[in-house]
């Protein structure tokens, strides 16, 4: 049958053609807009959705509160196993209420392929496991350092990679404030300088300072507060973006990482800033990031890019759910990636960040995010200022 176009179909056809035309124009505009979007040269990343491999034994993670990479590019995490509740940890109940799941041991070691190759942690002889473990660092002598941020945690633990207890500095329940020279106050993170054999302590959730100790003896060497001044534990009240920059750190002081050129990068989390110091505590500069962020703040953890110059600084922001890429010299935010959500490359409370020798980034999430994720380094190239969720396709 042959159909002769009626007036009505012709009208519809014309309207359709017009609509197509409009769409084409709209598409061209979109393309122009996209190409006009300012880009910047920066390291590029794409999430690897299948890294790490599924954990064995029906193990699941609690709040995943620290990540570190060792000299073999093995990735270490510490998580709060006891935050796995009775519903999710059904197989741990007595009697079990389901076949899945069980809480994984607190310290987990993954090889570069994402296989779980080691696990340990928890209470043991001769040391006080933190009531709320926080932060993990593997030094070049293969010691594993762990802090703790429970109200009673005031100590630092050092283990071998196999989980053998080596040293405890400080004791649970014994804290003396930000000017004490023998105790800590709810330590967030540790970073060990192999050359000077010194450990930099982000101290912490109770205290408001950076402490440097001898990495073998734990003896205090020096400490300082914001701007390198003497720390003061006076309560500053909540952060106010409109107020002048605070003269003190606000708790938690959440990271204190040392660059190859001897600068200390300190996360002053609720103050939304990174302060930079010389190794002796002399203030150098600061960068304010997402300054309207209230509550938990924007500057949760830092890691350095793996080029010899450590040209870039990566800052994890568990409140705005992204990772900022900063030019380390200018401290300018070049770009950011990530967004809120539970899919690969998205975050809920991205808490900790580390890089391996190939420049890949690893992140862990606390609260209900509870993941370890890998972002594969894809070279330096043009990227938009806000990359959102970074998928390879």
């Amino acid at each position: 049958m042959t159909t002769v176009p009626t007036r009505r179909t012709l009208v519809i056809g014309a309207a359709f053609a017009a609509a197509i035309g409009l769409l084409a124009v709209a598409e061209r505009l979109l393309v122009r807009e996209a190409s006009a979007q300012p880009t910047v040269q920066a390291p590029r990343f794409a999430v690897d959705p299948f890294w790490p491999k599924p954990l064995p034994n029906g193990w699941v993670l609690g709040m995943t509160i620290g990540v570190g990479v060792d000299s073999n590019d093995h990735v270490w995490i510490v998580h709060r196993a006891d935050t796995v509740g009775a519903v999710e940890g059904a197989a741990d109940q007595i009697p079990p209420t389901a076949t899945c799941c069980r809480k994984a041991p607190p310290v987990l070691e993954f090889d570069p392929a994402g296989n779980l190759v080691g696990h340990w942690g928890g209470a043991g002889e001769g040391y006080e496991w933190p009531l709320s473990n926080h932060g993990i660092f593997v030094d070049l002598k293969d010691n594993v350092w762990i802090g703790g941020n429970d109200a009673k945690d005031a100590h630092i633990l050092k283990f071998t990679k196999q989980g053998k207890f080596l040293m405890q500095f400080g004791h649970q329940g014994k804290t003396g404030g930000s000017n004490d020279t023998t105790t800590f106050g709810r330590v967030a993170k540790i970073y060990v300088d192999p050359k000077a054999n010194e450990a930099y302590i982000a101290d912490g959730y109770g205290n408001k300072r950076v402490v440097v100790i001898d990495a073998d003896t734990g003896k205090f060497k020096r400490f300082w507060g914001a701007y390198g001044a003497k720390p003061d534990d006076t309560n500053l009240g909540p952060y106010d973006p409109a107020a002048p920059p605070a003269k003190q750190f606000r708790t938690p002081v959440h990271c204190a990482d040392l660059s190859n050129d001897g600068l200390v990068y300190v996360c002053d989390r609720p103050n939304d800033r990174i302060q930079v110091f010389k190794a002796d505590g002399t203030f150098v500069k600061e960068a304010i990031i997402a300054p309207k962020t209230l509550g938990d703040g924007s500057t949760w953890d830092v890691a350095f890019s793996k080029d010899p110059q450590q040209k870039y600084l990566y800052v994890a922001d568990g409140k705005n759910e992204k990772v900022y890429v900063l030019d380390r010299q200018s401290m300018e935010v070049l770009t950011s990636f990530g967004d809120g959500g539970r899919q690969p490359g998205q975050f809920f409370a991205v808490h900790s960040i580390a890089t391996d020798s190939k420049g890949n980034i690893y992140t862990t999430e606390t609260y209900e995010g509870r993941r370890l994720q890998k972002f594969v380094f894809r070279g330096v190239g043009p990227v938009p200022r806000d990359q959102g969720t970074v998928w390879a396709r």
């Binding site: 599924p54 309207k292 705005n320 509870r370």
Partner: protein, 404 residues
């Protein structure tokens, strides 16, 4: 007479005993697509997802619990007043429609004129005309209160006056226009009531008969059928097709004789051959009925499961015979693959965890025209996931270990 179909272990074992390939049992196989759906945009987050469904165009529909199931301090800082975050995040609208490539193509939901938006939504289904039905499953009272619903999703501080209990079902056009409400919040009726519900969990439609089936629910213990246009009551039944009884039967005990009543009927689904599949969630079983409520058979799924139970919701495979039943199990964190004829569990998909293809609280399941599987997670899972159908193949061991 009640006849229990025991799950055949033989089917499962054959896979591991070197049975020649020609005779080897086959089950649908799947592969998770980690990049489906596409990022929601607008810094939107899913709350606890309670319902997923596929419409005639193979679009995926989802309903979730929104802000009430998201952490105001740590998760949705942009929704606070003043905002506590600069760039993220906000609760997504309650109802979202995705096209087959995983792009959000429409969204709506929330309170409006002429209907009572649920205190907390339950299951969602799309009927043959494209209308969207949502059960109002309600939330548990604040800790210390009375109730036997799902574990707390963070709802209720215990200080404000409790809103009226959800006791209704809603029907919307695909654009979100309100069409029909059956029942009224606060106007609860027991399992023999003919006009009221009590925290219904799921709905399904019989297009030919113009009837809507309601799994009722978290408090009631029955399936109830209404006219899909007028909402007029038609019939209802309890476990084994008998008269429901609301007497408290205490917690589920795997060793006890099979309960004579439902413990949280959490799904109802009609097969093409006219059978009604009901999830009896906390009894770890699926009961099968004729449309008139005559009991046909039942199957236990991971029978040792306690707590919220194993049989949360079901979907049928996409073949014309609907050979397989997919059962979402938010306690064991799996989708069980069940032979619909024998009701034997033949394979499974998934495991616990927060990586792609893993689950926390997988409570809803749907299948598209190509046989792909979609899952929704409640609790803190809060994800929509797609599992691409990869044809028939070797089954995964369906039961590695039963809880002792």
């Amino acid at each position: 007479m009640a006849r229990t179909v025991s799950i055949s272990i033989a089917v499962v074992c054959a896979a591991f005993l070197g049975v020649p390939a020609a005779q080897a049992p086959q089950a649908p196989t799947f592969e998770v697509d980690p990049f489906w759906p596409k990022p929601l945009g607008n810094h939107w987050l899913f709350g606890s997802i309670t319902g997923v469904a596929v419409d005639a165009r193979n679009h995926l529909w989802v309903v979730h619990r929104g802000a009430a199931s998201l952490n105001a301090r740590t998760e949705i800082g942009l929704a606070a007043s003043p905002a506590t975050a600069e760039t993220c995040c906000l609760p997504a609208p309650y109802v979202l429609q995705f096209d087959s490539v995983g792009k959000v193509v429409s969204h709506w939901g929330g309170p409006g004129l002429g209907y009572d938006w649920p205190q907390s939504p339950g299951g969602l289904t799309v009927d043959a005309k494209g209308n969207v039905w949502i059960a109002a499953a309600g939330a548990d009272p604040a800790p210390g209160g009375r109730g036997r619903g799902a574990p707390s999703t963070g709802l209720g501080s215990g200080t404000e006056t409790a809103p009226p209990t959800d006791a209704h079902v809603l029907k919307f056009a695909s654009d979100g226009r309100f069409l029909l409400q059956i029942g009224k919040p606060g106007k609860v009726e027991g399992s023999d009531g003919t006009s009221g519900l009590h925290r219904p969990t799921a709905v399904d439609l019989d297009a030919a008969a113009g009837e809507v089936y309601v799994a009722d629910g978290i408090v009631n213990r029955r399936v109830v059928v209404f006219d899909a246009e007028s909402g007029a009551y038609k019939r209802h039944w309890g476990a084994y097709g008998s008269k429901p009884d609301d007497a408290d039967i205490g917690p589920y005990d795997p060793a006890a004789p099979a309960a004579k009543q439902f413990r949280v009927p959490s799904c109802v689904k009609l097969s093409k051959d006219g059978l009604v599949y009901v999830c009896d969630r906390r009894n770890d079983r699926i009961q099968v009925f004729r449309k008139d409520g005559t009991f046909v058979k039942e199957a236990f799924i991971a029978k040792a499961t306690r707590g919220e139970g194993s049989a949360w919701s079901v979907a049928f495979s996409a073949d014309p015979q609907q050979r397989f039943l997919y059962v979402a199990d938010g306690s064991n964190q799996k989708i069980w693959i069940v032979d619909r004829q024998t009701l034997a569990t033949v394979s499974s998909v998934g495991a616990g965890g927060r990586g792609p293809g893993q689950f926390y609280g997988v409570g809803s399941v749907a299948v598209d025209g190509s046989g792909n599987l979609y899952t929704g997670e409640t609790y803190e899972g809060k994800r929509l996931q797609k599992f691409s159908f990869k044809g028939m193949g070797r089954p995964s061991p369906p039961v590695s270990k039963e809880p002792r």
